[in-house]
Symmetry: C2
Subunit: 191 residues, 2 copies
Amino acid sequence: MHHHLINQISHFIKLSDAEKEWISDRFATRRYEKGDYFLREGQVCREAGFIEKGLVRYFVTKEDGEDLTVDFNKEQEFTCNYASFLDHSPSNTSIQCIEPTTILCISYDDLQQLYLHVEEGQKFGRLICEYLYVLAIKKVDTIYRQQPEQRYLQFLDRYPELVSRLPQYYISSYVGVKPPSLSRIRKRLAT
Amino acid sequence: MHHHLINQISHFIKLSDAEKEWISDRFATRRYEKGDYFLREGQVCREAGFIEKGLVRYFVTKEDGEDLTVDFNKEQEFTCNYASFLDHSPSNTSIQCIEPTTILCISYDDLQQLYLHVEEGQKFGRLICEYLYVLAIKKVDTIYRQQPEQRYLQFLDRYPELVSRLPQYYISSYVGVKPPSLSRIRKRLAT
DNA sequence: CCTATCCGTTAACCCAGGTTAATAAATTAC
DNA sequence: GTAATTTATTAACCTGGGTTAACGGATAGG
């Protein structure tokens, strides 16, 4: 029984004991080394994941080969490229493990079964999507309203724990600037 | 009976005739003049709308009072600040009618009733949210990967019809630059 | 312990968009 | 049809991040 997973789902809907068992059985445990990919850009994201342990980053690759880190997920969070997962389109992002990571995975078809089989399954699907939607919108808002300097401050505020788990160039990429520029920002802030 | 509305919903789920009637009855018709607000920043978005006729723009207001246009919706599209609507939080965007506009409105509670009362109601809630999610993600992607010039070209491509319905400064705001800069972009492209 | 590699900072120069203000064009009002 | 207002363009100057390359510190491997 995947307790962390069941606990997270239980934040959204009520589950009977039988349903907890049934759900646990749909998830397969996958282990990844640092640097391994959960998903590569261009692939269809066929499984949704729940991070049992570890840390992943999402990035897009520009035409010139540069990659831009757009998000992070850590233990006790769900991970997948939801847009690709939903409509079986090629993913526009890669998801890479940047620590040794354990992910519980469920296939698209099994998740659809979950929506049907579990009493409040459809509601869970709706709520999880609504949750992800709100996150996505906040992201848009951040990009629209904030300067790189503010985004850096916000990153420090929101992910204080990740600062020590991440190399600086992932942070600069997340903030939307190049490493030299993040250095300048840090210098400005230090005064 | 609101036929346009029912048609749109029928793209997502099957509806019985009785359900079509029932749904139609939950929506109230509201009319707006050019410049009127469907929603103001800071208010909670308590109704979801379906635009029968007209055109609205979404904008956020920065601390310095400047507003940034983040999206448009036109006839036959749903409109609301979904994040605010979902969790009753103050909206971070305003929605303003920029043409005389007719909107069919349903309250939050009635929509929850719809999820329960209509056979495939929960599924509709999930699918509409998944649809909005994919749109939001595309928006993030656009901001991340594209320069203002590319966003302008994409705007021309995606909303050719809106070019003539919108003043230029809404377009420049949507593209993410100031009017003088959009002029420079247009000049560059003209050569 | 020394070397090679990686990473973060710094400097110099470049460029796109911001800012401000003036002007021209297009709408709207009367 | 003319005046008033709003909107679009242009010019001059400013600013912050990009680019490239050099340097220094840290880390890892031998």
